[in-house]
Symmetry: C2
Subunit: 246 residues, 2 copies
DNA sequence: CGACGTGTTGAAGACTCTCAAAGTCCGTGG
DNA sequence: CCACGGACTTTGAGAGTCTTCAACACGTCG
């Protein structure tokens, strides 16, 4: 793998310090992590791990977006997770990758060698506690996605994905004015299709339909603005007040 | 909820002692668990919890089968998990149920009051460690299921479900002779449909088709035998040697 | 400029769903 | 004992959604 060395960053200055697997750690615990961590950068499109690869590290996404996906023998693929900044990759106690991990944008990861990390897990309850919490959140998200994959129509799937991305984007920018939202799609039509269990043509058609009906506006292929977020939510098929994914 | 008091069982004699959340506990730790545990029995068909219910306990399934499901406002429902003996229900740190939990057979649960259990989690690393491990396994299973929901055909979905149940049944009975497998379906056609993201009619048709073609044999509606397991595996669409769900 | 990656659109077809009717099994009650 | 109702299942026919295959548009890059 071609990957670029990334300048060392103090944990205390880390942009995702408060959300990642290390968020509960005290300063003395951070020192221990600091000793076994190193940064790696992956280019957009680069594969970070193939299913079955031996992985000698676990890692936290510092910046960028990566995807987890599974493939059937005949090539059908399904995305099963999205790794956003602060998300954790890899499983303590397991050597092999169980998914294909791909960088969709440039990705910077904070890596820990697996053995020392596992050792730290045993001695530092704060890490294990946080990892449990994060894993439970991921499980909830995965199950929410199962509902989407199993029961939603193509249109509802698209609306749900856009709503999730819009909401996440808004929460990052803190620009949560009730009015119009704008964001860039971090995924190609094909990636959206793999995420939603659709074909890319269906994705394209449904996006066009939502645009035609004024639910969203497009500037270029990737830039989307949502004039009325509630209108978009109506299209998702979800309970509009119930528990939200992500 | 009508539920029957269940005779107290010593943890040491518990049939799922070695697989449940308590499997790593030492005998002195079991004593602590023993103090806060109690048994409850739920009848077949009974709802154990509704989404949004306040849950003042977490629990381990001792015997029987329960399902986790989510529902859209218009009634479409998707099963998002199956609770088998030794599986854990409830989330430490969360008051509300996030899924509907339903007993499909009579279910005996070993319950722990939530607060004391959370306290034990903090003081007893063995419990937290095991729970993390179980949660990671569930996450893997959920993602395997996402592949099924998003990309498999109806026929492949049915074959996958039968293969999973057959394999689990075989591992319980230790009757892993390579030859013919037999088992009872613990689910109605409707429950299978909710699990697979299909309609019950499609489930029925595909089961009939598999029977017609000799992949499976039916005795009554629920008893199934598989003359050639490899043949069934071919129908699942999976890599026949790769990592297996469950 | 032409190749390539990405995205859009159309037409035909496949698969699954919806609606409807009827069959099986089982327990209740006459 | 048998009729009856209810839960569960099977099967058919038609409709609809989504996929497949194909052509074309757009922008970047060599």
């Amino acid at each position: 793998m071609q990957d670029v060395e990334f300048g060392h960053v103090e944990c205390a200055d880390c942009p995702i310090r408060h959300r990642a697997v290390c968020s509960r750690c005290e300063t003395d615990e951070l020192v221990l992590l600091e000793e076994i961590k190193y940064y790696r950068t992956f280019e957009a499109g680069q594969t970070i791990a193939w299913t079955g690869d031996k992985l000698d590290f676990v890692a936290t996404v510092v910046s960028g977006i990566a995807t987890l996906s599974q493939t059937l023998e005949d090539g059908r693929t399904q995305m099963v997770g999205l790794l956003l900044p602060s998300d954790f990759m890899g499983r303590p106690g397991r050597e092999m990758a169980t998914y294909d991990v791909t960088a969709t944008t440039e990705v910077v990861m904070c890596c820990f060698r697996r053995r020392p990390f596992e050792e730290l897990m045993r001695t530092t309850p704060h890490i294990a506690q946080r990892l449990l919490e994060m894993t439970l959140d991921e499980l909830d998200a995965a199950r929410e996605w199962m509902l989407l994959l199993g029961r939603k129509t193509a249109r509802e799937k698209i609306a749900s994905l856009l709503a999730i991305i819009a909401r996440r984007d808004a929460s990052l920018k803190l620009s949560k004015a009730g009015g119009s939202l704008e964001f860039d799609l971090p995924l190609t039509r094909e990636a959206m299709a793999d995420y939603l269990g659709l074909t890319l043509e269906t994705v394209s058609r449904q996006v066009s339909a939502l645009k035609r009906e004024g639910v969203i506006e497009l500037a270029g292929k990737r830039h989307i603005s949502v004039p009325d977020f509630d209108r978009l939510m109506l299209e998702t098929g979800d309970d509009c007040d119930g528990g939200m994914p992500f």
